[in-house]
């Protein structure tokens, strides 16, 4: 990646934060943050917060907010891989919790939209605490891409 691309990348990141996080109330409520992106890839972070804890005895985040993080990141990766702005909707999402999450640590989700057909997009994702090689959850999802309603879409947030 050349340096001249960086200002442009920052601008796209800002736009992504505005449209995909700022304009989506639940992504905003979770304080999601864009960590990185490239075509077909998106990484979002979920900052650790006491009010998102699922088990007060361990201090570990609830699976539900990790589901929201993964759903949001996968949907964003689909949007990043589409040439035009389209409305999308999650068809299904499978999450495997491969290792317990650690308390007091943010969770990062990396999603890769590895295939887009005319109406469906396929995504794989992993959530971790910063070390991609040591995921706490792995996921795969499919999304419907609405070809005819693109102009109506504002955000294409996964509903």
């Amino acid at each position: 990646m050349s340096d001249s691309f960086l200002p442009q990348k920052d601008e796209i990141k800002r736009r992504l934060e505005g449209r995909y996080i700022g304009a989506v109330p639940h992504n905003q409520a979770l304080n999601l943050r864009v960590v990185d992106y490239s075509p077909e890839h998106l990484s979002l972070a979920l900052p650790y917060r006491e009010d998102l804890v699922g088990n007060p005895e361990t201090g570990v985040l609830h699976g539900g907010c990790i589901t929201s993080l993964i759903d949001a990141t996968c949907g964003g990766a689909v949007i990043m891989s589409l040439a035009a702005r389209r409305r999308i909707a999650t068809l299904d999402l499978r999450i495997d919790y491969v290792r317990p999450a650690l308390p007091h640590q943010e969770v990062i989700c990396d999603a890769h939209c590895y295939k887009v057909t005319r109406h469906v997009a396929f995504v794989r994702a992993a959530a971790h605490h910063g070390d991609k090689m040591s995921p706490i959850a792995t996921a795969s999802g499919t999304f419907v891409v609405f070809r005819d309603e693109g102009r109506r879409a504002e955000d294409g947030g996964s509903a």
Partner: protein, 146 residues
């Protein structure tokens, strides 16, 4: 109240308030449960911060997953023999239609309840249309300490 005590209280009273209060995330999400006809029914009270697509408008898909996972755990705690919180092994959520900005309810069924693992199916719907689920989920829970 500690989670373990809240589970004990639930088993005695059938009241999920103490559990919901003991878990910060379910408080944040407005997720609770009650016993209706002897079955656990989960409820996520509508709040503006649950919206995922304001243009439609529709609830965020992740919030439906959260409600269904929580409802399955609530039912496992109600039926379980120990106070250990079940650990989610995996969950698959199928989104059937957009969920309107209103309360969402959920009911769980044990397809198999073993000693170590429970296989659970969960259905989520909205009040005015119980026959048309907005989402369904299949999940596996580990019931013993690793």
């Amino acid at each position: 109240m500690r989670l373990r005590d809240a589970v004990t209280a639930l088993r005695q009273s059938g009241d999920f308030t103490a559990i919901q209060e003991a878990i910060p995330y379910t408080r944040f999400m407005g997720i609770t449960a009650e016993l209706i006809d002897d079955d656990v029914v989960g409820r996520m009270r509508y709040s503006d911060h649950l919206v995922g697509n304001p243009a439609v408008p529709a609830l965020h898909g992740g919030t439906l997953g959260a409600l269904m996972e929580s409802t399955a755990i609530f039912k496992l705690l109600w039926h379980g023999e120990t106070t250990t919180v079940p650990k989610t092994i995996n969950i698959t959520v199928e989104y059937l239609r957009g969920a309107r900005p209103e309360d969402v309810l959920a009911r769980a069924e044990f397809t198999r309840h073993g000693r170590r693992v429970a296989n659970v199916r969960v259905f989520a719907w909205q009040e005015d249309d119980p026959g048309r689920p907005v989402a369904v989920a299949t999940a596996h829970f580990l019931l013993v300490q690793e």
